[in-house]
Symmetry: D2
Subunit: 301 residues, 4 copies
């Protein structure tokens, strides 16, 4: 039986592109971490070392910078699509391109109550992300956009229980009628198309996720995730699927009774490891197929 | 069109199990990071919050600790298989279990030239990993084992070039006839079965990877990965596939000419980001199907 | 010449205390990382292994949790002072106690435009810190409080130059008439006393730091730090000293000319390493002595 | 009362210098992380923004690279001394220079049982460090060298107790007659002079630290550190002081009794936080003064 090359991809990971818009005295900033990953007619590079069809990762990096000027950086989804289209359209050996972009948020420094024209402070704990995947291997060029948010750390100090679960020989956990529920959410949603007001959509999805986390009484993190995900799909027809990954960041009630103190849900130890890990997808029936949209980005696979 | 639950899994990630063997005065140590992920009949937990079929992640953690005593920790592949078998065999609602284990290596402290009986020092930069996946959803119970090594940082100071590549409008990189090639390798190989001398196999695969990296003249990291992967499959019939993920850790030659110094491959700047990212699979034709073996582990997905 | 024990300290580092105030339905949260470090009559523990005077670090941890209930967590400066006073007053062998507290900020999740009663989202990139040091070794009990902010990432996209610097044989840097200035600021300020409205003071100092960074035209990061620090001391008589530590997070203008593009301060590469590191103290003449206030906290020394 | 500039220093942190020796076909590698920090006549840079006496941090970086060629990189202590001497001797405005160097270890890849000529694999978990401080502000030029090791992770699975400690109202910890003792040691030792065979000294000190950790029955981490430190000073007259910083990496015995299993020191949970933190200095009486040797390096202060 022969030994053959299977899937392969290559690209440049984590190019740190910062774009300043300074057309007026009131500057704007876009702060990005960009990763590209290409597939196509690259077997010779592996099998014989022949690089004739290989676009260097250094060139991919240059292209990320050049496009920040040529095309600009509006919504990161558009920037990712522009780059992915370039690689598939303009480089003959490329059959599929994936571009992942993380965006770090900044807000203006307040001076005398007003936002300063060219001074910014890093805002928020979370990261906005987008991935564009374009594949030209089929009869028609296919495109996918997945937007997301990462490191969205949320906590509710009541309104959460965990009871009535399966018990086996190794179960020691008691029912919890009222507990802290906390997670560092990763949410990624796949659009049905590419004609979307990305920024508005992002803001709406983020707000729905937060609101549902807040108002739904939680009988488990699983149920909370479902409520969050299905609410997003209910609100926006242009989203075909959302995937949620949520570590259960355990907050253990500290036993203060040895010190003569009661502790009615007031003092907790925030533990590091281990942590529960709950992951699910919520889908719209009959939506477009996911194709390669969920393939791991270049820097993680 | 309805909104439905798609794939889901849950488990306990990063349980830090340390097992000491002290049957004699000469102790042994196993230092593990264990993650479990279960799939099965868990829709109710999402849709209604009913936990009746949900084995708590806390119980999964307990099981990891208990099995370190009951079954012991020999090779991490066996430990992972034992846990995965337990979850699928003994918990009715579980259809598929995945157990990921990282092992941190220790070596004995040398005292008067001999290894001390109960004192150890952390060895090596790299991490040995194993994943066992068991699925009972089909007509027969199916099992997969993927072993691996991570953070295996290697560098060759010559014997590497990158020339003759595709050039486009954005290409500025000159040909490099002699360069440093360095990577932090992640290699994961999928076995065809589960009757393997895991420890010997790991040592052999690791050695092949290192040797091929050393002796193959590199015309690209792609070619080097292929040579490494195919050599592993050539050496061991019981391995069906290997996947390699290799960041190209760039070492840039420093221009010392402004200081009146030449620099014939002697002084380099080790850069952080961006980095090339090269990934490929090498397969044996006609081998068993991968099934869910490559699904992302619980802590990364 | 004899071999003797020099300085020593011990404590419990990074106890993760989360305190929920739930006296009304509108909960409050305090999320802390607490480190304690004690000095005193502990030589026997080192020299003979006699622990009779050693308060276990486990007890110190317990005390951090218990005090979160008994004394509560208002401003972290008060909480740190209460703990430090306890260790020096109540434990006979302790001569000096240092308590370091980091606070992670949360804000309420907005639901229908109003802050939710018990659901929070991690806010901001930065960390508020406080350290209390109490020493009873002198004729009178002495106290110091150092407050601070860490990971305050700021950037100005113009209004910064670096010109006219010293040149030697190894200098290749050209003058920069207009550049990005960015840093991840650590600022720590030492109060002259302990009767301070800590929360108000923190907010005022943070605002002054941001405003001065924004409005001062920068001829060097050094000058910017001086302007920031001296403005803080000018505004508040109760601050005796401020120390600023600022990595110069380099943003390099990308050369787009090979692609036929100009780049008038628009596209930058945000580099990781190396980085400039500028550090200074700004003092009030005649202020109280720093004593041990600036000793490294337990987790860093 | 006036507001004045206090201590200040500036430099370039974390320049990643890799030096290949390729004079013969059998290459050598030195892999360094270098930080420089200068003090001197720099007040004008802060007070007025005048850079005339400021050697740019970019120049300091260039010098690190150039010296790797001009002077070479033998022992990192010599390289640090050469750089520190250059800054104080050749730059008029510099009164004191501190150079910190971390070295990452590599070993040769074994091919057919022999070390390969130009292929290396990252070795070990720990980092060797050195700092040179030179001050010309006094009547004579003064020099200090501090060598060290960091991230030296050691564990003993028996031979450690913690009993007979002080108990107060908040103490719940029981005596431990036999426990795991584990730490990630940072040790730094200050030499009395600069004429030392650095590499041999490093190897000897590291070995003494490991051996003492192994063979001394531990009644507390404090006592173990004292035994380690005093043994180093006893063995080498040219070392004036050693400082040890040791997090107590807690390994908690898991209670397996709910599962009908005993656990006689076999299965442990390796916890992350909090951790004990034990720090001490061991000094030779009558040795030379430490001066500024222990000032925090540029990247930490």
């Amino acid at each position: 039986m022969g030994i053959v090359l299977g899937d392969d991809q290559y690209g440049k990971a984590e190019t740190r592109v910062v774009r300043i818009y300074r057309d007026t005295a009131r500057h704007e900033i876009r702060d990005l971490n960009v990763s590209t990953a290409l597939r196509g007619d690259f077997a010779a590079a592996y099998l014989t070392g022949d690089q004739a069809k290989v676009l260097p990762t250094d060139t991919q990096k240059n292209t990320c910078f050049a496009y920040a000027k040529e095309r600009g950086v509006g919504d990161i989804e558009d920037y990712a699509l522009a780059l992915a289209n370039h690689f598939t359209d303009d480089i003959g050996s490329v059959r599929r391109a994936r571009v992942d972009v993380d965006e770090y948020r900044w807000e203006r420094v307040a001076v005398d109550g007003a936002g300063h024209a060219h001074t910014f402070v890093r805002a928020g704990h979370e990261i906005r992300s987008a991935a564009a995947v374009i594949d030209t291997g089929g009869s028609v060029k296919a495109q996918w956009v997945v937007s997301g948010v990462r490191d969205l750390v949320v906590l509710k100090s009541t309104g959460s229980q965990f009871t009535g679960f399966l018990r086996d020989r190794y179960t020691t956990l008691p029912d919890a009628g009222d507990r802290i529920l906390a997670t560092s959410l990763t949410a990624q949603w796949r659009y049905a198309g590419t004609e979307v007001a990305w920024g508005e959509a992002f803001a709406q999805v983020r707000q729905i996720l937060l609101e549902r986390f807040a108002v739904v009484y939680s009988r488990a993190l699983q149920q909370t995730l479902w409520e969050m995900g299905s609410a997003v799909l209910a609100a926006r027809d242009d989203i075909a699927e959302i995937r949620l990954s949520a570590p259960n960041k355990h907050h253990f009630l500290v036993d203060l009774s040895p010190f003569g103190l009661d502790n009615p849900g007031e003092v907790f130890h925030a533990d590091d490891r281990p942590y529960g890990m709950i992951q699910c997808a919520v889908l719209r029936e009959g939506g477009p197929a996911a194709g390669p949209a969920w393939e791991a980005p270049a820097s993680f696979a």
